[in-house]
């Protein structure tokens, strides 16, 4: 209803189905909330089943309308995931860079997607909660470039692993448990986009989505689906209306004003 005001209406517009996967409480919903509403909530209700939101992302030549399926993270909801990643053209596999187990889970998801999702799906590996890592500078953007040899470090839970010190000069009270190098190495191996983000501060969030939008091959883009395209923004799981803290309809204008990704 409102995005036409952004001046992107003339450009060809196509919708992309994107699914978020990852362990519980790594910040999937928060990433989406940041991207869609430029907002952050400390106590985001857990997603039951999945939440559905949309956001447009204007590129120089076209506009991508993301139809975002934000899935529940708890292990047992995993069997529902195929329902959501069905026909998805892009996936955001999120882990918490302060929690080694979440990267293991993320790898499982990547493997699942590579085998089960539609071929040619664009997958981005995202390490969230960068704000908890002291070395804030470690934020890396863009498609991982192969400089280091991508051998993932040992996934020990031990936080004193030497492998990490390489990247983190300032190891003072750092909650980070997964080095950028380790994750990027893995991402390169698997041919994934790789980012470290903070939904809390907003670092790199828009960049992730923009990179995905750019990575979607032109050929796989379909035209915008008709109907209430603009009105489709709503959270499924966090569904009660009239409670604007959890329902995105209320924040619609704010989001529109921000006008998608700043790319």
């Amino acid at each position: 209803m409102s995005d036409s005001a952004a001046g992107s209406a003339q450009k060809p517009s196509s919708s992309v189905k994107l699914v978020l996967l990852g362990e519980a409480a790594v910040g999937k919903s928060s990433l989406v909330l940041r991207f869609v509403n430029n907002d952050f909530q400390e106590n985001k209700e857990p997603t039951i089943g999945a939440a559905f939101l949309t956001q447009k992302c204007p590129l120089p030549t076209r506009t991508i309308k993301f139809e975002i399926w934000d899935t529940a993270g708890q292990e047992r909801f995993a069997s529902l995931a195929p329902m959501y990643y069905r026909n998805a053209q892009a996936a955001l596999v999120v882990y918490d860079l302060t929690k080694p187990s979440s990267l293991v889970k993320a790898k499982h998801w990547v493997a699942e997607l590579q085998r089960q999702a539609s071929p040619g799906i664009v997958i981005a590996l995202v390490g969230n909660k960068l704000d908890l890592a002291n070395d804030g500078s470690g934020a890396s953007g863009g498609i991982a470039t192969a400089t280091e040899n991508g051998v993932p470090g040992p996934e020990t839970d031990g936080d004193t692993s030497e492998a990490r010190n390489e990247e983190q000069e300032s190891a003072t009270s750092d909650a980070r448990k997964i080095s950028t190098r380790e994750a990027r190495g893995y991402a390169e191996e698997e041919g994934l986009l790789f980012f470290e983000t903070s939904a809390k501060t907003g670092v790199n969030v828009v960049e992730v989505f923009t990179a995905i939008a750019n990575a979607i091959p032109e050929t796989s883009l379909k035209g915008t689906r008709g109907g209430g395209a603009g009105a489709g923004q709503s959270a499924l799981g966090a569904g009660r209306s009239g409670d604007d803290s959890r329902v995105n309809l209320g924040d619609r204008n704010a989001a529109a004003a921000r006008d998608g990704c700043a790319c």
């Binding site: 519980a24 409480a25 400390e42 106590n43 985001k44 209700e45 857990p46 997603t47 039951i48 089943g49 999945a50 559905f52 949309t54 139809e67 529940a72 708890q74 292990e75 047992r76 909801f77 995993a78 069997s79 529902l80 195929p82 329902m83 959501y84 069905r86 026909n87 499982h108 493997a111 699942e112 085998r115 089960q116 689906r225 008709g226 109907g227 209430g228 395209a229 009105a231 489709g232 923004q233 709503s234 499924l236 799981g237 966090a238 569904g239 009660r240 209306s241 009239g242 409670d243 803290s245 959890r246 329902v247 309809l249």
Partner: protein, 1162 residues
């Protein structure tokens, strides 16, 4: 007869997946729910209750003083005062229940039979009008005398009397106890029987009255009618019971708008007339009052009452707090997960922004996760519990959550969320049926309905609708059950149908429903002229549509659809679980093909499932037998295993114990299948101590035999135990799927001879990188064990060493072979015996000197010397021990004879002495991996054994990993040191082999050997001939050894005076030696060591041989086997051996028949 029936049972349990996988529905099979489970469902009783007696009856209620215009379903106006209801009276162990609702079960109960019950409850819920009173709340039962044949009981309850303080009773209005009458309709006998049952139950129930008092005092209704009324005038002498966080943080919604006060008044009135909490009698007003929405403070209690969780709480009133304190301080995955969600459960409700509310939520979820660890914690439970806690105390919420998860919504929150997925399918099919146009549209526009509806069901609409309305749905839901969720869901779609028909994608679909939910409080007909119609809210409209328009959706509709879709849903879950767990097996698993992994996965869970089923059957049988007072059996039966192989629950941490592991192996490798005949013999012959030590497994086997005729019976061998221990890396006495996969991956993953040799060595390695004497003997036993079912030509084509492999053999050797046409099996025996000999040779280089001096068996020794030179250079340990060996004790010359029989090539005294030296227990010896490798590689058959047979004998799928198929270049490349030895080796050893062979042939033919490798006959004959030849050979050796020993004994002062008890000579020596000798002779005949374990092993082997012999005789005479598919491939072989076994079974059916008759049919 018994076997047949058990087979049918087994088959049924396999066919009916209802038994399988859906552990979470009622414990019994749910496609045909048992009468008791239906009974419990109808009256919402705890699982402990069973319908004991039932009788048609008429409930007569006293006339209500204010007589609010209630019309019973079957009002009898005029002649009698008060309401009367005709219905069915039921008695269970602890409850007396009455319902006007036709029961959903018949005495012969199953859904198929009880067609009379449509499931329609007309808003009264399945328990209808009537009552469900615990027997302990009945104070008095009188039998009313009447002139007619009417058999009437007058019941007086504790209603209102429990909470009365003796002191305050004076001030109260005169207390009128609740009293009503029931007329039993039935034959006098039936009535008497019912009354007897009731009397017994009442007596039993007396002791529960204290629990009843405790629970009743927590009920708000009690406070409302006694304490509450007093609080107005004087100082409140009683705190109101906890009615949830709402008492502190306010209840959601506007109390005035909800007309909370007048609802409260109505309920108070209802309680006064019809009793409260436990003694409440359901009349039509009850259901109406629920439909209009419960008042805040009573909501929790009525939920408890309607759902039956109140009865669960009565049963163990302290369970909640006990659970919390019992597990205080413990940690679990569930607790971690709970902790993550505590701050995000209904965060907009003020109570959950406070420590108080969060604490309650934490405690309830944690306590539940402990009582049901299989469910643990599932997201969405936090939301449901948070909602419950607004209206009820922690303990109440705990029990209601239990009832919700276990009974009302089984499988919803389980680890696979099976129930949720199933109900989504059911919902979709209901939409298709009731709104075909909409359904078609959704399908066409590729909108997946469950994407929208799943959260509705999972969080009971709490998270979808504004709270006030969600609670109204819950009010009805707890009374009428899960069908309410479907009715509401359908109504939502129906009301929004037109708009939804315009929808093209998920997004707009969701947003339409979202805006609908947010407008539930608005008028449904805002433009209507009629003010009354205008006042109807959208929510009211929703309720009307749900319960009027979709009144046809009944509990049985849902049940039928669930049954219909169950299989498909399970299959989906299963394949997903399989896919995921296989993918997550870690790097080692990559060595196996996906098909192999799939085969392992299936087999693993199948075995676990079978195992569990068998345990269950055994437990049932045990129970049955106990009832019949057959003590012998019940003593024998193992305790029912609590372990559950939850196939449908996917990758759980289920582990298989050793017995299950044996079954797994039996399904995987031919050699792991027991020889039934041998078993029977074994059981008949074995000593008591053996039975004692092996009791459990023997028992399990004999029973499994009866239960699962179609299953290969697993063998039990030390090798399998070693394998088990080796795979059990975390020493948990159980193997997870991961353990099994890793074990097999290491074994099969790389088809490299070095790998499998190392693997085998590791099994016997005691952690020091060495295998001691005991281990060497164990190894050789294992080799024989593994090979005893033949080499399965299809599996190991390269194993037929005839021409291609034996090319470098000497002409002489080849000649020999052509002459005799010996089977691989036979030659392998020779290889094993030389294996032992060489092991001892190279473990003990001093032996070399002895042999040189004697000059016997020249070629062999020559080769041995060559090899030895290599081994000495390779391994310093052996050198060190050389020094010890010269001090041979003459006494040991006897014990050598035990080892000798297996070494047919060196019958000379000198050679036996050298072997003797190796057996000297005073001089511990060992071989190391290089030595072992060398010894294996020195023998062509052993080499092939490790190269192909050993890894391949573990049969997984028909599509092995390409890597494992790649021809191995192993031998030459890996062991270059051997290349120069090659000629010597092959020459010397082939001649060695030839002599073995010729010797064996004589014995074999004399024992009636038949040319092998002729299909079924061949297999059988191989076994027979092996046994016979060995027996003959061993006997020969023994005789020689004994003769020799006699000669020796003359000149020596040691203790062997008794010639045929050579084993006993070792009694004095270390027990390891004794065990060893026993092990050595385990394939011999007639030599007993003193070690009972060893002895039994040996005897079993002997039995095996003799059994095979017997079977072959039968075979030769008159038994004709079905030829079956004689097509090539390993399958045929499997098939063959199966038939062999079955034929053996036939042959000794008399024997076994007796056993089973005695054990099971009595």
């Amino acid at each position: 007869m018994f076997q047949l029936s058990s087979f049918v049972q087994k088959a049924q349990s396999l066919i009916d997946p209802a038994n399988f996988i859906i552990p979470s529905l009622t414990p019994s099979a749910d496609r045909n729910p048992s009468k008791s489970s239906l009974f419990r469902q109808q009256f919402r009783l705890p699982d402990s209750q069973n319908p004991l007696h039932e009788i048609t009856a008429e409930l007569a209620l006293p006339v209500a003083p204010p007589s609010s215009s209630t019309h019973g379903e079957r009002p009898r106006d005029g002649d009698r005062p008060g309401n009367r209801y005709a219905g069915q009276l039921h008695l269970s162990e602890r409850f007396l229940c009455f319902s006007t609702q036709p029961t959903s079960f018949l005495p012969s109960a199953s859904f198929a039979v009880s067609t009379s019950f449509t499931g329609q409850t007309h808003g009264t819920g399945p328990s209808g009008n009537g009552f469900t009173v615990p027997l302990c709340s009945i104070r008095r039962v009188e039998r009313l005398h009447s002139l007619t044949h009417v058999f009437a009981l007058a019941l007086t309850t504790w209603n209102g009397a429990l909470g009365r303080h003796p002191s305050s009773s004076a001030k109260d209005p005169p207390f009128v106890p609740q009293r009503f009458t029931i007329q039993l309709m039935g034959s006098r006998q039936a009535c008497e029987r019912f009354c007897d049952g009731l009397k017994k139950g009442l007596r039993e129930a007396m002791k529960e009255i204290e629990d009843l008092r405790v629970v009743v005092m927590d009920c708000y209704s009690e406070y409302l009618l006694t304490g509450g009324s007093k609080a107005k005038g004087e100082e409140p002498d009683r705190q109101p019971p906890d009615a949830g966080l709402g008492m502190v943080f306010r209840y959601p919604g506007d109390a005035r708008k909800l007309r909370d006060r007048s609802k409260m008044r109505l309920w108070a009135e209802y309680f006064r007339e019809n009793g409260r909490n436990f003694t409440l009698i359901r009349q039509p007003t009850f259901h109406k009052l629920i439909r209009v929405g419960l008042p805040n403070r009573l909501r929790g209690e009525i939920w408890e009452l309607a759902s039956g969780s109140l009865y669960a709480r009565l049963r163990s009133p302290r369970l909640y707090h006990e659970t919390l304190s019992k597990f205080d301080g413990r940690e679990s995955l569930a607790i971690d997960e709970i902790e993550k969600d505590l701050n995000r459960s209904l965060p907009e409700y003020p109570g959950f922004q406070s420590e108080e509310g969060i604490g309650r939520l934490r405690r309830v979820l944690t306590a539940y996760s402990w009582t049901n660890e299989q469910i643990g914690y599932c997201q969405a439970m936090n939301i449901v519990v948070a909602a419950l806690l607004i209206y009820m105390s922690e303990s109440q919420a705990f029990f209601l959550l239990s009832v919700l998860c276990d009974r009302i919504l089984p499988g919803y929150y389980s680890t696979t969320m099976y129930g949720t997925l199933l109900d989504q399918k059911v919902f979709e099919s209901l939409v298709e049926k009731t709104m075909p146009v909409l359904w078609e549209h959704l399908v066409k526009s590729d909108v997946q309905l469950s994407v929208v509806s799943l959260p509705w069901f999972l969080s009971l609409y709490i998270n979808s609708m504004p709270l006030v309305f969600a609670f109204r749905v819950l009010d009805v839901f707890f009374l009428e059950g899960p069908k309410v969720l479907f009715q509401i869901g359908l109504a939502i779609l129906r009301i929004n149908g037109e708009e939804l028909l315009d929808v093209q994608d998920d997004g707009s679909f969701i947003s339409i429903l979202k805006s609908y939910f947010s407008s539930l409080d608005e008028s449904a007909h805002p433009r209507s002229e009629n003010p009354k119609l205008r006042a109807v809210t959208r929510f009211q409209e929703l309720m009307v549509v749900a319960f009027k328009e979709f009144s046809g959706i009944t509990h049985s509709t849902i049940e039928e659809l669930r049954a219909k879709h169950k299989d498909a849903v399970l299959e989906n879950i299963e394949s997903f679980a399989k896919r995921t767990s296989i993918r997550n097996l870690g790097p080692d698993s990559k060595r196996l093909s996906v098909e192999d992994l799939g085969a392992i996965y299936d087999r693993f869970y199948e075995v676990l499932y079978d195992h569990e089923q068998r345990q269950k059957l055994l437990a049932e049988e045990k129970k049955r037998h106990e009832k019949k007072k057959f003590e012998r059996f019940s003593v024998q039966a193992p305790p029912p295993d609590a372990e559950v192989g939850r196939v449908g629950l996917g990758p759980s941490s289920t582990q298989m114990d050793y017995d299950a592991f044996r079954e797994f192996l039996a399904a995987t490798a031919k050699w792991a299948v027991a020889d039934v005949r041998g078993q029977a013999w074994n059981e008949a012959l074995s000593e008591k101590n053996r039975q004692l030590s092996n009791q459990s497994s023997v028992r399990g086997r004999s029973k499994s035999d009866l239960k699962l005729e179609d299953k290969p019976e697993p063998a039990d061998h030390e090798f399998m135990q070693r394998l088990f221990r080796n795979w059990d890396v975390d020493r948990s006495q159980g193997l997870s799927l991961q353990n099994v996969v890793n074990g097999l991956a290491h074994l099969k993953g790389t088809r490299d001879i070095m790998n499998s040799i190392n693997y085998f060595f590791d099994l016997y390695d005691n952690g020091t990188g060495q295998v001691d004497r005991e281990g060497i003997l164990g190894m050789s036993e294992a080799l024989l064990f593994l090979s005893r079912r033949g080499f399965d030509g299809a599996l190991t084509p390269s194993d037929l060493p005839d021409d291609s492999h034996d090319a470098p053999l000497s002409p002489y050797d080849r000649e020999q072979k052509e002459d005799t046409k010996l089977s691989t099996d036979e030659r392998f025996l020779g290889s094993v015996s030389s294996f032992i000999r060489r092991c001892f040779e190279y473990a003990d280089p001093s032996h070399l000197q002895n042999q040189e001096s004697t000059g016997g068996g020249t070629t062999v020794d020559q080769a041995a010397a060559d090899l030895d030179a290599f081994s000495i250079g390779d391994d310093d340990d052996d050198l060190i021990e050389i020094e010890d060996w010269p001090n041979l004790l003459p006494a040991q010359s006897t014990s050598k004879s035990a080892s000798e029989p297996s070494n047919p090539t060196s019958p000379s005294r000198a050679a036996s002495e050298s072997a003797n030296a190796a057996l000297n227990p005073d001089h511990p010896l060992h071989i190391t991996l290089p030595t072992f490798r060398m010894v294996v590689l020195a023998d062509e058959l052993l080499e092939q054994f490790f190269e192909s047979f050993f890894p391949q004998s573990f049969h997984l799928s028909d599509h092995p990993h390409p890597a494992s198929l790649a021809p191995s270049s192993s031998l030459s490349s890996n062991l270059t040191t051997f290349t120069n030895l090659g000629s010597v080796r092959s020459q010397s050893f082939s001649s060695n082999r030839a002599s073995v062979i010729s010797g064996a042939t004589v014995a074999g033919f004399s024992g009636g050997i038949v040319p092998p490798n002729k299909g079924l006959r061949g297999v059988l004959d191989n076994i027979v001939s092996d046994g016979m030849r060995m027996a003959a050979e061993v006997r020969k050796k023994m005789e020689e050894a004994q003769r020799e020993m006699e000669r020796n004994a003359l000149g020596r002062e040691e203790d062997e005076d008794d010639e045929d008890e050579d084993g006993r000579g070792l009694v004095t020596s270390a027990s390891s030696a004794a065990a060893m000798v026993g092990g050595m002779s385990s394939w011999g005949v007639g030599i007993y060591s003193i070690d009972p374990e060893r002895r039994s092993v040996r005897e079993r082997d002997r039995d095996l041989l003799e059994g095979a012999e017997a079977a072959s005789v039968v075979d030769g005479k008159d038994v004709h086997y079905p030829t079956g598919d004689a097509g090539g491939g390993d399958r045929t072989n499997d098939h063959d051996s199966q038939e062999v076994r079955s034929s053996r079974r036939t042959s000794d059916s008399v024997n076994r028949g007796v056993f089973s008759m005695v054990e099971f049919d009595s």
